[in-house]
């Protein structure tokens, strides 16, 4: 079609009609990495969802900390009975504040790291499905 040969002898009868598939735009597979680099709509959606999910994980940890550890002074204040409790001879508040909270904070951190690393692995697979890099 691009090269319309002028019909030289119309009488010969046979006209060749071709579909120029060879010149049609080939379908280029673009990676998500490229989409992100070029800040296209798709790339933006990927980035937004990654950042949102990371922020959600961080906020979950922060809110958990707020509801448990940060509320402790008020809990001990409002439930005075707790102050009289003893475990192995150690007063309950000293056990909780001197060691229990630290252990809880470490567990929270460990859970967070596990969650976020899994999310990042998923994102990497999504962006580079083959991941054929050395």
């Amino acid at each position: 079609m691009t090269e319309p040969t002028p019909p030289a002898e119309p009488s010969t009868g046979r006209v060749r009609i071709t579909s120029p598939l060879s010149t049609a735009s080939t379908h280029v597979r673009r990676t998500v990495g490229q989409e992100i680099d070029e800040a296209t709509g798709v790339g933006e959606v990927y980035m937004q969802s990654l950042i949102r999910s990371q922020l959600r994980a961080a906020a979950t940890v922060a809110i958990t900390l707020l509801l448990t550890v940060v509320s402790l002074p008020l809990v001990f204040l409002w439930v005075p009975g707790l102050n009289d409790g003893r475990v192995l001879g150690i007063p309950l508040p000293w056990l909780v504040l001197g060691g229990g909270v630290h252990a809880g904070v470490i567990v929270l951190g460990w859970l967070y790291v596990r969650h976020v690393e899994r999310a990042e692995r998923l994102f990497t697979h999504l962006v580079e499905p083959s991941d054929g890099r050395p």
Partner: protein, 501 residues
């Protein structure tokens, strides 16, 4: 007691510190070695180093002293210093490493594309660092006075000199080894004597602590001011940790964002293990060293207990061990802070000063280190010593009111502008920075005194509020590069994207 063992202990720690520093010197050659140990430090080594650097005189001596004096409420200090790392882990650790900058001012400039933000952050880094160094230097003087009967200036000058030498000679790489060694030294130096002390206490018939119910109960005297005070410590320590220059600079030495997270987790485990110990010293102090409260020397309780419980050379040896740990605490924290300050100021000197280009970056780092030590050193002679843990909290409050909003908003909110950042840094910084001066100079009483001496509860919201409000008002000045920066901060290193700015 005879000061011989104490002198031996202090000399050994000093020599070991300088020797490990010299070992680092042999392998630190490039600028990158000097500033960030070429970013090749493994999580376990880096975790030990961060913990070694973080456990300052405030943790080593200060907590025991505060528990001895005030009781259960003081347990919030070590909780805050641990939980601060949890918030650092979830909001800052990986993106900060992925930002690829050396220091907070670098981060600010890269994120906001503004030299003015860089200058303001540099000034604040220096302010936080000086507030942190001052009590370390004073504590060193106090310790050598208590143990060796030396005049107060001896310990102060000794620590300042060793720290400057170490930074000047070895830079970040040697510091990393020194700090990692000092964490384990500090842990041992509190743990081993504690075993003997508990044994002696047990043999003594387990006498009870001379304390009222108020001392044993959290918020035993539940005045509104006491409740405010507890929350002020919580806010300052939870949010301040992520903004401490010597902690932040360590995150750039991780190989990648994932390693930065793992390092943080290791730090939380290591410092929690350490924080179990000072509480015991505080409680035992209530049994055997009650007089220290009245004489205003509560900070020395960990140093005093071994010789009071264990007679003879055994007690003296244990005292020497605790002294060695305390000295390691002064050295490691001061080295870390000085290194961070020198990194920030040195970069400014070599890139921006009138001698731009004529000063090599390593020479600039060395000059900056000497200058950064000189100021708090002279202040240490002028200022009245106050309990070391409380004065460290001034530095935490300042970091929480300035760098915490800068980092959290800069990493998670596209809308932050340079004008907003500057407004928040200056507003939060002035509020939190004025507090120690008002407290020390004017000696205000009542509610005003409480609010001024522990500003974090109101100065942190001011810092955040100003940053958000002014950013919203200057929305047109959001840097065009913000999308690019966010990609870089948040995508895992394995994903191949364009990371240039």
């Amino acid at each position: 007691m005879s000061p011989t063992w104490g002198i031996v202990a202090v000399s050994l720690v000093s020599i070991a510190t300088l020797a490990i520093g010299a070992f680092g010197l042999r392998i630190s050659r490039t600028t990158s070695d000097f500033y960030v140990a070429s970013r090749s430090v493994s999580p376990v080594l880096n975790g030990s180093a961060i913990s070694g650097e973080y456990l300052s005189a405030a943790s080593y001596l200060g907590i025991a002293g505060l528990v001895l004096t005030h009781g259960a409420d003081m347990l919030w200090y070590p909780i805050g210093w641990t939980a601060g790392y949890l918030l650092l882990l979830v909001f800052v650790a990986a993106p900060l490493r992925r930002s690829g900058a050396y220091t907070i001012p670098d981060f600010a400039q890269v994120r906001l594309q503004s030299v003015a933000v860089r200058r303001v952050s540099t000034a604040l880094v220096v302010a936080v660092g000086w507030l942190y160094l001052l009590p370390q230097f004073q504590g060193a003087g106090l310790t050598l006075q208590a143990v060796l009967d030396a005049p107060r200036w001896v310990g102060t000058v000794l620590v300042a000199a060793i720290v400057t030498l170490n930074v000047v000679l070895g830079g970040m790489r040697s510091i990393t080894f020194v700090q990692a060694f000092q964490y384990w030294l500090k842990l041992t130096a509190l743990l081993v004597p504690l075993m003997f002390l508990l044994l002696a206490w047990s043999r003594d018939g387990r006498p009870a602590a001379q304390a009222s119910a108020d001392w044993w109960t959290p918020l035993g005297v539940a005045t509104p001011e006491a409740i405010y005070g507890t929350y002020a410590v919580i806010v300052a320590t939870f949010l301040g940790t992520m903004g401490l220059p010597h902690v932040v600079v360590r995150f750039y030495t991780n190989p990648d964002g994932r390693a930065a997270r793992r390092t943080t987790l290791i730090v939380m485990v290591l410092i929690s293990a350490f924080y179990l110990l000072p509480t015991f010293y505080g409680v035992l102090g209530r049994v055997y060293a009650f007089d220290l409260i009245a004489s205003g020397r509560a900070d020395t309780v960990a140093l005093e207990l071994p010789s009071r419980l264990i007679a003879g050379s055994g007690g003296e040896l244990l005292t020497a061990l605790v002294t060695a740990g305390a000295f390691a605490a002064f050295l490691s924290t001061s080295s870390g802070v000085t290194m961070a300050l020198a990194g920030v100021v040195g970069q400014g000197l070599s890139d921006h000063g009138p001698w731009r280009g004529r000063l090599s970056s390593i020479a600039a780092l060395r000059i900056a280190a000497a200058a950064c030590v000189a100021v708090p050193l002279s202040l240490a002679f002028v200022a009245e010593p106050i309990p070391v843990a409380s004065s460290v909290v001034f530095a935490f409050a300042l970091a929480a009111s300035t760098f915490c909003p800068l980092l959290v908003l800069g990493i998670w909110w596209r809308g932050l502008t340079s004008a907003g950042a500057i407004a928040g840094l200056i507003g939060g910084g002035v509020c939190a920075g004025a507090a120690p001066f008002v407290t020390l100079a004017l000696d205000v009483d009542g509610w005003w005194g409480t609010l001024m001496s522990q500003p974090a509860v109101w100065s942190v919201p001011i810092g955040f509020g100003l940053m958000i409000a002014v950013s919203l008002a200057t929305r047109s000045r959001i840097p065009a590069t913000v999308g690019r920066t966010m990609v870089r901060l948040h995508t895992p290193e394995r994903v191949q994207v364009d990371r240039r700015f």
